[in-house]
Amino acid sequence: MTTITREEREWFLRNLAYGLLEYMGATSPPVEVEELLHHPPPIYGFDFGVVDMYSNLWDATFARPPSRRGSIFVRVNLPPNQRRFALAREMLSALITSKHGQAMGLGDMLMDSLQESAEYFARNLLAPEPMLHAYQANADEVINFADEFGIPVEIAKKRLHDVGTEVH
């Protein structure tokens, strides 16, 4: 496998996120990733389940029980913005371990930086640049931005940092 730079990895992840956004037909925030998990593209029919769980250990985690559908196990009492981000982040693990993701070679490229990649992927899925540019035309407060996109404020700050925007 060719060694890739962070910039190349992020370019690749951005485009994976755009592919899913295009499939969803999402044009304005918030991006409802849970809808995508409930109605996945046909090739992910065996990979995109959601299971609510009571847990104090983590917000969400992806698991694929042997010979069964892969699912994101998500803490049942998470606030909606945290739940949205956690599901989007864990979606990358679902993609990587899917049959199609394995055929693409996603694991070879992304497993070494899984957490960082998953969070970057989620930020791009929930706040893609075209929506971000449209939004920035009429507001500059990070809290408003987080509210509008339905994501945690900390994630909103990171997303604005991704695109080189000063946070107020």
């Binding site: 496998m1 060719t2 890739i4 190349e8 370019w11 690749f12 485009n15 994976l16 755009y18 592919g19 899913l20 295009e22 499939y23 593209p41 090739i43 993609l95 199609h100 055929a103 693409m104 070679g105 996603l106 070879d108 490229m109």
Partner: protein, 96 residues
């Protein structure tokens, strides 16, 4: 335009198995033919050697990026042609 075409290709590949299948079968040129690449670039991309689709995508990104970073030469009229084009000269003669 080439980077936009590559972006669209990678984006599509996450939901369209035919792209990865074409790559695996060594017939990615058939997919590239449908996209807005110059014939020279298309040929370079089709010759890339990669173990996986993801690796191919990154190698393609490097090539497209390097091609798009080359500044295009500024096109100035030749001094031999003068500043007035033949067409505008004809127009003036007709008015006169």
């Amino acid at each position: 335009m080439s980077m936009q075409a590559l972006n669209q290709l990678v984006a599509r590949s996450i939901i369209d198995p035919s792209i990865v299948q074409n790559f695996a079968e060594g017939s990615i040129s058939e997919v590239l033919r449908e996209l807005d690449f110059t014939s020279e670039l298309r040929e370079r991309l089709a010759k890339l050697s990669a173990d996986t689709w993801a690796e191919f995508a990154v190698l393609a990104y490097r090539i497209v990026k390097s091609v798009e970073q080359i500044p295009s030469p500024i096109e100035l009229p030749s001094p031999a042609e003068g500043l007035i084009t033949e067409e505008s000269q004809i127009g003036k003669e007709q008015v006169a």
